[in-house]
């Protein structure tokens, strides 16, 4: 029996109010409560956060990194989705 048999958790920390939680790393823990306590000790020793989320690593579904091109291209070739696509009269202001 080994620590490595314990579940792996992904840790997210909100640095301060108004910001979203950001992934900061992972750790092993037997359950969510201990995972939270360990995350506090490991990732917020210097006031790095005001809130912590822990998520079982196995619960994360991810896109395939190899699929990068076909998977993400549609957004990129629709350049009319970007404000810079549009030509406006030079004299117009506030747009």
């Amino acid at each position: 029996m080994n620590e490595a048999n314990l579940d792996l958790w992904e840790v997210f920390v909100r640095a301060r109010r108004g910001l979203s939680h950001q992934h900061v790393g992972s750790l092993h823990a037997p359950d969510a409560e201990v995972a939270l306590r360990r995350a506090r000790d490991l990732y917020t020793r210097r006031g790095e956060g005001v809130s912590i989320w822990v998520v079982p690593s196995g619960a994360v579904s991810a896109s395939d990194p190899g699929e990068k091109e076909p998977y993400f291209t549609p957004a990129r070739d629709k350049d009319y989705r970007y404000p810079t696509y549009y030509e406006l009269p030079r004299e117009v202001r506030g747009l």
Binding site: N2, E3, N5, L6, D7, V24, L27, D64, G66
Partner: protein
Amino acid sequence: MTTLADPGTVSRFDALIAADERIEPRDEMPEAYRSTLIRQIAQHAHSEIIGMQPEGNWLTRAPSLRRKAILLAKVQDEAGHGLYLYAAAETLGVSRGELLDALHAGRQRYSSIFNYPTLTWADVGAIGWLVDGAAIVNQIPLTRCSYGPYARAMVRVCQEESFHQRQGYESLHTLAHGTESQRAMAQDAVDRWWWPSLMMFGPPDSASTHTSKSAAWKIKRHSNDELRQRFVDLCVPQAEVLGLGLPDPDLRWNEATGHYEYGEIDWSEFKAVLDGDGPCNRQRIERRTAAHRDGQWVREAAEAYRTKRTGAAR
């Protein structure tokens, strides 16, 4: 994570490296890249947790409550650094248990600097200034290393390491400006830690077996000798401010190169310590395996607690 050696895999990996993009855990990567990283990150993680021992030696004998609180925080940081790094290694498909087994069995190494003893309180200061100082010079370029999880762990480590170096320097400065015997103790510590600190950068470029491949893969961005020179250039003026000497009669400023020249490093000592003949090699591993054994009941209790909470045994 895939480690196929087919041409498509290699070219995609090569393209990412060439574009100075980061490789992430689920990307395809050559097996040699993966094994090189596991070896390097594991050695780094092992160094962090073995490094708790020489300083932990002084926790109960720190000269004041202030110094004791500082040292406790530093040793706790080293444990944290070890955990960041083991987590980074685990993204490469190896378990922490396997890595610890490899450390305990001597199949993986840790930095040979931690095989030197901490004989006096001044050694704690000298380690902070020189050993952590050398570690920072080594680690700053690693924050731009091609493997994402390792680079991100290094960002956190470097931020925290800065406190380690400054507390050591402050402590040494206090001793160097104290009584005659305190000054002598500080000088003695610097005399003993200077050369081993220079050895922390590894063998000279002409003899390093890992540098060229790691450079091509952008794991290592500067050579051992470049980093060693950077460290010497930083330390000489800092030693002057301390009012302490560095134990090298050949140390001199070279106007033409804009760098300090330093004397010949005793690589036979480095090799002997690396091969297990340093002053504390056996003691460090014995202490580590004993700590692991003594902590077994905690791991078992955690597992039993998990089973009780979730009702699922493994």
